[in-house]
């Protein structure tokens, strides 16, 4: 993202808005400036701020006169008065920043918006996480700290050595050169993004060791790691993972509950049955 210096009046509204803190008012040019290495192309400034289309010269003049008298205009803090924030055309590898940071853009690999993963939210349809499984989501960079892919690779390579199964329909998995090693393609390793989720499952028996490994690797990373653990419930709505997590010393109060109301459409069911018959 760039800020058009011809339009910017240095009101400073965009400075606080940026989740990465990548915008500042340059004291020499007296214009808002984006640190391109820190900018993750999340579009918070471009899309989230409202805009006026005032004449920049007029606004700068008024602000200048006001500053002589220390008058403070109290503008709406989520408005760019001159629509100075300008999107730029993104090429590879920078375009991967937007894919992972702008929640309105669907991930190409999964077609899902946001972080691009369905996780156990659709487990009633896919049954991906079964009764003897523990599903994991390991999210990096959130809230508003950001992460680079080489940091994610530290975790994915460590987890790959533990016999876990990366979720195929996940944007981070789609960027791995080898899911057996967890290595990510080298041309994006230094790209910074707002956040990404590594998704995988393992057996309930392996879950304690995996949790310890996640904690160990997270301690060494200069970012935030947020972990979710998922379970399939029995007919009474109970599961064995909850007790395991408490035994491993985790406390939790919040979560997502899948109500089991989803199902494949009739046409999808036929396709699944045909595919199984072909494989069988």
């Amino acid at each position: 993202m760039i800020i058009d210096p011809k339009k910017c009046v240095a009101c400073g509204n965009c400075v606080a808005v940026c989740p990465m803190g990548a915008i500042h008012i340059n004291p020499e040019t007296k214009r808002a400036t984006v640190n391109q290495d820190e900018c993750v192309e999340c579009y918070t400034c471009f899309r989230g701020m409202s805009t006026e289309h005032l004449n920049p010269t007029m606004v700068r003049t008024i602000r200048k006169i006001g500053s002589w008298f220390r008058w403070r205009f109290d503008p709406e803090p989520d408005v760019c008065p001159t629509a100075a924030i300008t999107e730029q055309e993104l090429a590879w590898p920078r375009i991967v920043r937007r894919a992972f940071s702008d929640p309105v853009v669907p991930h190409e690999s999964t077609g899902v918006h946001g972080r691009g993963t369905e996780e156990v939210k659709t487990n009633d349809v896919t049954n991906r996480v079964g009764p003897n499984d523990a599903g994991f989501t390991v999210e990096f960079g959130r809230p508003t700290v950001g992460v680079r892919f080489w940091q994610i690779q530290e975790m994915t390579t460590a987890l790959a050595r533990m016999g876990i199964e990366f979720e195929k329909r996940n944007p981070v998995t789609s960027l791995m050169t080898d899911t057996t090693t967890g290595e990510i393609r080298t041309d994006i390793l230094n790209e910074k993004i707002l956040s990404a989720i590594v998704e995988f499952k393992t057996t309930l028996a392996n879950a304690p060791a995996v949790l310890q490994k996640i904690k160990e690797v997270a301690r060494a990373l200069d970012t935030i790691v947020a972990v979710g653990a998922a379970a399939r419930c029995d007919e009474q709505g109970e599961n064995r993972l909850e007790e395991l997590l408490i035994r491993e010393g985790f406390t939790f109060n919040r979560g997502k509950t899948n109500l089991g109301l989803g199902r494949p459409s009739p046409s999808a069911e036929m396709e699944i049955a045909q595919a199984r018959a072909t494989v069988g």
């Binding site: 606080a16 940026c18 989740p19 803190g21 999340c42 918070t44 899309r47 989230g48 409202s50 805009t51 006026e52 503008p75 709406e76 803090p77 989520d78 408005v79 940071s101 929640p103 309105v104 077609g111 899902v112 946001g114 369905e118 156990v120 659709t122 009633d124 349809v125 896919t126 959130r142 809230p143 508003t144 707002l194 996640i214 904690k215 997270a218 200069d222 970012t223 935030i224 972990v227 979710g228 653990a229 998922a230 993972l241 909850e242 985790f250 939790f252 919040r254 979560g255 997502k256 509950t257 899948n258 109500l259 089991g260 109301l261 989803g262 199902r263 494949p264 459409s265 046409s267 999808a268």
Partner: protein, 225 residues
């Protein structure tokens, strides 16, 4: 997207924070899901949600790209549910946010009868979601537990900023902006309701809970976290 899983807060201020969402599953039931997603949202409006959202287009509070200068004195701040519902044009996640469990239970009971065939999830305190399931007569199918934050947690902000910022799970509400609004409310430059409207406009999938945010800002006005 795990945009609601890691909402930060304590049991008290999370106890009336509920997000119910419908999500089509790609390749399984996403074709022809658009009318069902709209029906989900329209049904939700019967139970007084505090926000509605469409992951592809936004929530009930949206920024304006053609404000005139009078907006600094008078600005439209009402949620626009109709725009959210009519704007759903592609399989995506849609959400309804509630600030009381009774509304959630009634909504979920009606969803059961509607039988949309889409996955429905409740993001809330686990015990409260369980309470809802018990009252409606549904057994939980799967649960995902938020195990919190690890890594360099000294990069995180203070409690009130975290509570506000994490209410947009995609990270669209920066720590700096949350801190700025807390300060503006404390200074009397804005009311908590005005600050909530700003936050809501940044949350691009409409899961921000303005009722909860107002409570957090009211408390922040009186004391630090």
């Amino acid at each position: 997207m795990t945009n609601t899983l890691h909402r930060y807060g304590n049991e008290r201020n999370l106890s009336n924070d509920f997000i119910v969402f419908a999500i089509p599953c790609r390749g399984y039931n996403d074709k022809d899901s658009v009318p069902k997603l709209k029906r989900f949202l329209r049904t939700a409006t019967k139970y007084n949600p505090v926000n509605l959202g469409d992951g592809s287009h936004g929530g009930a509070y949206r920024p304006s790209k053609n404000l005139n200068p009078t907006a600094h004195w008078s600005r439209e701040n009402k949620p626009d549910f109709e725009t959210v519902i009519e704007g759903v044009d592609t399989p995506t996640t849609v959400a309804a946010v509630f600030d009381n469990i009774r509304a959630v239970e009634e909504f979920v009971a009606e969803l059961q009868k509607e039988d949309l065939g889409l996955s429905i999830n409740i993001s809330a305190l686990i015990d409260r979601a369980q309470e809802c399931c018990d009252d409606v007569g549904i057994a939980r199918h799967s649960v995902e537990y938020s195990l919190g934050f690890m890594g360099q947690t000294d990069r995180l902000a203070d409690r009130q900023v975290m509570e506000l910022s994490t209410m947009c799970g995609h990270g669209m509400i920066s720590f700096n902006f949350a801190r700025k609004m807390i300060d503006w409310v404390k200074e009397g430059r804005r009311t908590p309701e005005q600050a909530c409207n700003y936050f809501s406009r940044f949350c691009s999938c409409g899961i921000f809970n303005p009722t909860r945010a107002k409570e957090i800002l009211e408390e922040a006005r009186r004391r630090n976290s």
